[in-house]
Symmetry: C3
Subunit: 411 residues, 3 copies
């Protein structure tokens, strides 16, 4: 019945317009999202910099599920459902922590960092520990970015890996450390949070701090771009070519996007004055003028890779109208707070921007709930919302399996 | 299916008793209310005194809808769904404000005060602005009271207008200003809030401040009324007849009620001592002893028109168990706070009374949720609850279209 | 349809494992619990010590129902639905109080303490007060413990009464007074709260204060028990036999459990040092070394009867993921605070323990919500969870009436 409803809404959807309102606000469509999207696709979970040593872990909530992502004794990144195999208690209770082994707080069942159950006191002779290990979750690490997949058989990530690695690897994300981490809750559907990120049409009216440095154009050949931008683009790409750093838009289809774009003239980083936020540059960079690699991947992740720091954003759906947005600021692993960087200066632009975006997404959600809402026409500068909607509708169609699905998927 | 349930409950309803409990507490009946009542009928939205100048606006939440009511450049009152035609953001974010034009906070689409879209930056050549104006909402203004209707084809308000105008017009509501405005949230169904207002059976036990001045009888010929009231009534009506002010109960059927009733002997206004709250009387009144015109209209509005101030109450359903009650205190447009009136003195009686009523409605809601609740018998002094229930059941029957509906509607 | 779902889940249930997750977390299963369990069975409501005089009352919330339990003028304990027969207002608004008569706060209908309506002002001639008394709730008092049943025809309590009386009566609960009362809200399903209480497998890792005095073994012949416990048990039972105090496990089937067990060596009461909490012992005890009678009864009650105080715990379901736990500490009616007992000393062990259990139950609930949860194997020391699950599944099967029900009920 819920699949019939998905198929009906997919029939109503028109390309070039925002989605039918039910996709954004209805509880049953949120359940469909959890099954069709979040239980099947790769999800961004964090950076290896968040779990540098054995036993370091982070947890991630997706709807009603909690996942624990950790580094095992051999240095491998692993992920498990954060649910004990005994009576189901949560195991790791914090957003981040370190554990020699995973010990259930309820009855102290003990799991190795590879998920195997190694002790379950008071269980009788003959209890089969081997069949009571933690339920594993698939993990892939791409240049230090951790992706997890809840599905039994995950889709391939190889095109993504192969395509984005040349852009990201030079910034050496695996030689970074966490400078700051923030969590905000937005009273809005996760797709409205993503929509908000997928265009800069709203920037001029809402993001004064961000626009000190960020260029509003998403593509080198943006038809709306002016001569100033074209000149800046030409100078920048010549310099990056000289350094062997890729910059052209990658072909990610509707699944991902990767591109290097310059900051505004004379700007080098996301700061209030455009000067670097961290004097110790990433990798072994000596050139601070690297713009930023903007990398987005469905359904829940965007990033900026700069010369002096890296920003990861992960979007976690909590309910139809609640979404967590977690932001990580990474700097060179040898950078020293107070010496190489000032924390307020490093974080203030995106802290403000996140909060501005939260208000926009929340008001968007409120308005979409109204009977007066109808899908509205997207501007050319919102082309990435169309990409996202195409991808989303294809996922939903695959899941729901109806004729509406086939129609969209075939487009 | 929801209509079947409405029809079943209508069959169970007995006149002279409170309603079957599901009408008050069930989520699906709240959805039915939004469709059958709030999407079809005229709703009280406020006073013209709240939007005196061009661009002044107020917003009103009805369930999941938000409506913006404003005064346009020609001085006309207009109303629109508060949802942008682009991607659906809320437009006006405050309860009250002033706007030269309506500019969407998200992407700055600009709407004229007549709702037409006059600018949508970045939209391509050929974009049809004319078909993307704000969705209008019907508006009627009756002696300064603003009513809106979300339906495409609203019912007639002419009988109401014609009937109540002689009672209200002499108080000249369009020559008033807002002295105070309050919003309270009651954890109770909107119909329990209305029920609470429709009888004074509960006054003696709960409203000490109100009963300093308010008479508990609802009709001149109330069979329960004593000789004191009859004498007061006779003296009052003689005086009002001399001033040409109508007072007899109007024939509003189940839709509205309008009557002028005296205050207790020697009392002139809703104050703790019965003396006027504002020394500058409304209109050009010189006689302060005008009692009050009590005017109620389904589904969400009651009012008091006194010699020295006007009170509007609007009831806004938020969910099955949450209701906003907004109260406006109006005084003569030339009255000066601190000179002609003291704000605490003006507002304290109804601020206390509202809070007392909130507690009563909330405890009523809690009790109705119990399996032990069954519709109980109404007292003669609760005759207006019966009128309200008759009206409500007819609306629900019209909407649900079942035989239960026809039965009630035919009574 | 909800019954079909119950039957399906009952088919999935395996003895020796925790329950299928939906029973713990789904809203519709909570509704089924209210009907199948809480509307049919006897529920612990409190102690007679809480309502010592005529008109003393306590209220109890069960799902959406509120019950008032009071002592009438003749000293009898009575219970009623806490809902007025007029328009359904809650009547008694506090957790505990005293009322000469029950007067509805809304319109002052007056009920005698026997539930009869004795005054309903403004109701017309001929109004039949006799048919508008409060809806009664069945009450049984067993050694001062009050049980209520919302069903029209309650099941028999005689086996329970007959069996537990010899254990409890010597402690003379009807000669006690309330020393302290606490309410905590746990964000967990009520069955997870009960599960938590039904085993001490979790004690070692979580209850440092409790384990100062509590023995972890649930039965005299616990196969896991060590020589120390066996010696303690032998010495204790010899002493209790000498005093004529029963101690052997009673045969309560899956419905109740009653047993007297010793505290740890040299420990007499639930205190941080094991010494008595109240110097005035209960009844006319002179021997403080009485261990505690541990008495549990489905669905919502466990207790400890010591030489110096009594503890009652009542579990009240509020929604699928919210449960109130109320704890009462009773001491001898003549004990004087500050002289015979210190309140902090009396209450600190179980105040801490309750809070520790709250956290365990809440994390259990969170983990069970995950798609990764599957019923896990119970340890031998969790045998009482199996008893509880057997009882619960039989109740659900009786209510749902499907083949799954019959299968379980026949086991």
């Amino acid at each position: 019945m819920i699949k019939d409803r998905v198929n009906q809404l997919l029939q109503e959807r028109q390309r070039g317009f925002s989605l039918p309102g039910a996709f954004y606000v209805d509880d049953d469509m949120f359940e469909a999202d959890l099954e069709a999207v979040f239980a099947t696709d790769w999800l961004f979970a964090g950076s290896v910099a968040e779990i540098r040593g054995p036993g370091d872990y982070i947890t991630m909530e997706i709807g009603r599920d909690s996942i624990v992502i950790l580094r095992d004794r051999e240095g491998e990144v692993r992920a498990f459902f954060n649910t004990c195999r005994h009576r189901g208690s949560r195991l790791c209770l914090h957003e981040t922590g370190r554990a020699n082994r995973i010990v259930c707080p309820y009855h102290q069942w003990v799991y190795e960092l590879d998920g195997s159950l190694i002790n379950a006191r008071q269980m009788p002779e003959g209890f089969d520990r081997a069949s009571h290990g933690l339920h594993p979750v698939h993990v892939e690490v791409i240049c230090g970015l951790i992706y997890v997949c809840l599905a039994e058989t995950p889709p391939s990530l190889e095109k993504f890996r192969k395509t984005v690695t040349p852009y990201i690897a030079p910034h050496q994300p695996d030689r970074t450390k966490v400078a700051f981490f923030s969590t905000i809750i937005e009273e809005a559907n996760w797709k409205l949070v993503i929509d908000n990120n997928r265009e800069c049409y709203h920037c001029a009216g809402n993001h004064p701090a961000l626009l000190v440095t960020l260029v509003e154009f998403a593509l080198p050949d943006d038809p709306a771009a002016n001569a100033t931008f074209k000149g800046l683009m030409d100078r920048s790409t010549a310099r990056w070519d000289g350094l062997g750093l890729p910059h052209a838009p990658a072909d990610g289809g509707t699944e991902f996007r990767c591109i290097r774009l310059p900051f505004n003239d004379d700007c080098l980083s996301f700061t209030m004055d455009g000067k670097p936020a961290c004097n110790k540059l990433l990798a072994d960079f000596t050139e601070p003028d690297l713009g930023s690699v903007r990398m987005f991947r469905v359904p829940n992740n965007w990033n900026h890779f700069l010369s002096d720091h890296i920003l990861h954003f992960r979007v976690l759906p909590l309910s139809a109208n609640r979404t967590a947005v977690k932001t990580t600021w990474l700097v060179h692993e040898d950078a020293v707070e107070g010496v190489d960087y000032d924390l307020k200066r490093l974080t203030e632009v995106w802290t403000e921007t996140n909060d501005e975006d939260r208000i926009l997404a929340e008001n968007n959600h409120k308005g979409v709930r109204s009977r007066a809402y109808q899908p509205g026409p997207l501007a050319p500068s919102e082309f990435m919302l169309n990409n996202f909607a195409d991808w989303y509708c294809t996922k939903m169609a695959d899941w729901a399996g109806g004729p509406g699905g086939r129609r969209i998927a075939a487009e």
